[in-house]
Amino acid sequence: MRLMRIAIASSVIVIAALWTADAQGPATQRTAEPAPRFADGTPNLGRVPGEKGVWDVPYIQNMGLRIPGPDGKTAAERGPAPSESGGRGGGKAEPDVPFLPWARGIYDYNSKNNSKYDPEGFCLPPGGPRLMATPYPMEIIQQPEHKRIFMVFEGATHIWREIYMDGRPHPQGDSLNPTYLGHSVGHWDHDTLVVDVAGFNENTWLDYYGHPHTDLLHVVERFRRLNKGTLHYEALIDDPGAYSKPWTVAWNIPWSADGELTEYICQENNRYLQKLTDDFGQSVISGR
């Protein structure tokens, strides 16, 4: 009993410490240098010449706790949620997420089985805002001469995305082919990179906790480098197929000054998939 009390107390300390680290971002305090810029004044969201560095994408598991409230703070920034000690609360614990009934049902199912069928467990990529919530390093490479920006992800299955900065619209109708990462077009709103994404397939979840989306998903992302060490990320999730109105999530991504990307091939030895069973205890892959 005493041991258990000690264990619980330690967990609370660790969770509180992690929460503090996540909410305030230790890197933010260390690197309060101003955000770097290119010669024409455009913010540089990547490295400066002669230096290393990557964005240390945080592990955001539940976007339902990342919705800024009237005070600008998210539930995660206010403190550990009650559900962290008592397991997951499903849709009813998240009054700020405007679920449609079917989406809430799916979310409750994913909550009850601890995200067992998370597509990332299959080594499939995250789509939409989860790209900025899967905890592997990421780089942003701007090519103004080509009017495009690349985002390169070590994890999230070793993928990249291209953001067209040349003013083109999204393809219309059947020309908009549904994909994991969707079609991204961007522009600068003062110092904020605004990226409009459409054309998602339905093979991904919005987050680890399992908020679903449909192929009607439309995401508007806002990237702003607050200082050299901090990238503020905000995403409007607009999916009339799964949610009754758009909702916004936000968090900070710290800069890791000595980081570099390395190889990560998720499919190499994925034992999780080999062991995964369905709700009836049958192997998920043996029937193929």
């Binding site: 969770i15 410490a17 992690l18 929460w19 680290a21 996540d22 230790p26 945080p58 592990y59 955001i60 598991q61 539940n62 706790l65 995660a76 949620a81 559900s83 962290e84 089985n113 601890n114 995200s115 067992k116 998370d118 990332e120 467990g121 080594c123 899967t134 905890p135 592997y136 070590e154 994890g155 680890y208 906790y209 390395t262 190889e263 990560y264 091939i265 998720c266 499919q267 190499e268 030895n269 994925n270 034992r271 999780y272 062991k275």
Partner: protein, 134 residues
């Protein structure tokens, strides 16, 4: 005394620097955080591969002397290297002690949170995904 406090503070800072842990799949669907274990044995195999490095230990039951081969899952090689590991940190024949959480299916398999090498006493953070923060 002051050194010890500093060392402890450094340890905590290192632990925090290591978080967030590298996550690939659902921790709680496969492992049970309420079933912690601490096991010692001899390394029989190391799979230094993605998405998780897995190593195997022959663990001898002190009472029955029965030997069971256990598997332990850690983070990706990248995550481990960022925590000070190399592919040669664990070698076949090494004596180690592992702490972590047991698999839900009851098999001799677990998620390793920390590994201590008997030869050096060095405690290595295993880049485990057992950090259910939101």
């Amino acid at each position: 005394m002051r050194t010890r406090v500093l060392a402890a503070a450094t340890g905590i800072a290192l632990l925090l620097a290591a978080a967030p842990a590298i996550a690939h799949h659902s921790f709680s669907a496969e492992f049970d955080a309420s079933k912690p274990f601490k096991l010692s044995g001899v390394v029989t195999k190391v799979e230094w591969q993605n998405p998780h490095t897995i190593f195997y230990l022959d663990v001898t039951d002190e009472r029955t002397k029965k030997v069971t081969n256990w598997g332990f899952e850690m983070g990706s090689p990248n995550g481990l290297m960022r925590n000070g590991w190399t592919r040669n940190t664990l070698k076949i024949g090494d004596m180690v002690t592992v702490e972590g959480s047991l698999a839900r299916d009851g098999s001799p398999y677990g998620n390793a949170r920390a590994v201590v090498l008997a030869s050096t006493g060095k405690r290595l953070f295993a880049a485990s995904s057992q950090t259910e923060v939101q």
